[in-house]
Symmetry: C2
Subunit: 401 residues, 2 copies
Amino acid sequence: MSAGEVGRARALHVRGMLDVLRHVHLHPETTRAELARDLGLSRGSATEIVARLRALGLVEETAAEPTGARGRPTRAVRRHDRGPVVAAVDVSYETWRLAVAHLGGELEEPRRERHRGQRPEEVLARISEALHETRAAFGTRLRALGVSVTGTVSGGRLVESATLGWRDVDVAARLRIAPLPVVIGNDATMAGVAEARRGAATGADVALHIAIEVGIGGVVLDHGRATVGSTGAGGEFGHLPFGDPDRPCPCGARGCWDLEVDGRALARILGDPPPAAPRSTADAVLRRAGAGDPAARAAVDRVAQNLGRGIGGLVNALDPRIVTLSGLAAAVFDLAGDSVRAAYRSGLMRFRRHDPPPLIRAAFPQDGSLRGAAELAFDTVLSEAGLDSWRADARPAPETA
Amino acid sequence: MSAGEVGRARALHVRGMLDVLRHVHLHPETTRAELARDLGLSRGSATEIVARLRALGLVEETAAEPTGARGRPTRAVRRHDRGPVVAAVDVSYETWRLAVAHLGGELEEPRRERHRGQRPEEVLARISEALHETRAAFGTRLRALGVSVTGTVSGGRLVESATLGWRDVDVAARLRIAPLPVVIGNDATMAGVAEARRGAATGADVALHIAIEVGIGGVVLDHGRATVGSTGAGGEFGHLPFGDPDRPCPCGARGCWDLEVDGRALARILGDPPPAAPRSTADAVLRRAGAGDPAARAAVDRVAQNLGRGIGGLVNALDPRIVTLSGLAAAVFDLAGDSVRAAYRSGLMRFRRHDPPPLIRAAFPQDGSLRGAAELAFDTVLSEAGLDSWRADARPAPETA
DNA sequence: GGGATTATGCTCGTGCAGCGAGCATAATGA
DNA sequence: TCATTATGCTCGCTGCACGAGCATAATCCC
């Protein structure tokens, strides 16, 4: 190389730019003055950092609508119209979805396809195709991929999904697009991230998210960060032995909480055979209970108690500030909230009962996992490496002096 | 104030000094060259930072013993002989202990007193007295206080301790010494911190620590940081409903795991009345089982199964890399390891069974909670605020130019 | 309508901290 | 004795943020 190449490999200090960019991501309508205040920057630094971000095509400044307050009007700092985007994929029971997300979290209308009956390779090939179309449409603006999948994710692989009937599939590898970073996680984990960062648990230091579809998924969020353990499989609360110790679970263990709270539990309590589609069964029972069927009502009540009791135990163990519920958990909570709450309270240690963490419906019942996948994908964009690579892609080759 | 006081309130950039100081804390015998390599510093920066730390009386440099390797011999960077120390207090069932810890983690021989039968105020007054003696001996070298206490800690208070018979005591407030920061936590939490940072779980990204004395304490460690929830009460795994749903727990809930694994469980299984001192009862049963008493042996086996099964569930939910055991959990594991392991494995989800997280004895069965309290106290010293205050105490009043 | 008030934007000089090249130093080994 | 190896130290350089001072642009109030 030429002799003029001194100090090129040097680590760039981009802390300030990242702080500002993350703030813009979390508060899409912001101003320089707000940035300076919230991030503890001087106005001079704010000016300089915003100027650098503008030069990189990451943010734009436009005239802000007048607030009517005194003082020189500020300008709005917004995401750049041609700034970075990420792709978010969610693979669920019968369908998959693919959406593009912008800085600030805005999700474009997702593309959606049914995949029931297809083999994993077929499904993933279709999604990969769609991803390549997205890549073609957005070019280098597409920076990362977040994948949410219903099932247990460990070591970056989908190790087991009873819902999908898949086992040990390297979903991330099959969806990877050339140089883009991929993050993959369980759907409940992803939805929990969305709730903690922009949903019902916004601002909570520690939050517990509980989602029931078939079985229970969940996650603890610590300041918006999912605590997923050493391999990424953390949050499988459904396989805590809260249930009948003799009842075998498809997971291989016995007494799993899973078996006491979903469609399988409702069918069993009602004396019906194990359902082929537990989620639909659950919806049917909930409808009947809502319509006044006493047997259905009793079954829902029983499941509500099992749910509340388990959540009480989890709150004892994990000490969240708030508990968000989605899927069947939210539906049961709607229909039999008193039963859930009563069992929850009586499952709490005494000192917690005077001010228990509230149980709240999730803010994103439909697209939480897509939103969460987008958030985690953006985490890789809003990092030193992500900023460096954006800069490298945006600029022509660096010139030697 | 004088006009020369420009920029005094400015935040000092001390990242490099803190990085080096933390490295010295974790690796007490180090060298400049190692610091530069491990922290990614240039040798020039290492020189400068070490010089600054020396000037502040935080580290010393001495001739290192020759390694026999080629090259200019390096000098050892060690904690300063008159550098900062912290006090660590552990309040347990019958005694309390107070120890002084140095940078690097070395613990001086603890002072120990029995307190059985005394009221909380008396006990804490005695400890406070001892702390003031420590303060008198070490002066401003004493920088922080870490308190470990057996019981549930929430919001900085001891809210409930069945072991001590205390309820809602503001231990931290009663032990605070004038301006020093105080950190307080549950004894199992503190012991877990010690295991994760310097003990059996060193290097594990996520570790689960399980301690049984009376009931179960525990904690998840994430890269050495205790995940204690929103109020600090996280880790009360003993109050997960793994047990008989009808059995009432003194905590107010039912079916708690606590009741299935400690001296109370052993007594119940043996048909004995509830013991007054469950830990001694447990030790006695363990001795009889070790000596070959078949009834005792069967009871220990049963408890071993309850322990293993619960740990399996926790591993499913929390996904640690390793599980460390102490107290009665370690003793049961020694005596009935096969039963613990078998129940553990059969409680795991199938995909985990080919390579389950190992169950390991804790490295600090005796003084883990003291060591952990010292570690957390040192965290406050090895922070920007801690460094600033050390600088302020060490130097005379800043001069105005 | 015109100053007073309030708030934000911009420029510029300053300081800190770390980089890295080059040279000095101090051991081993042939 | 001199090459080799490794560390220590000096020094000029650079990136980044600070903060004072001034410019700018709105509303408020007489």
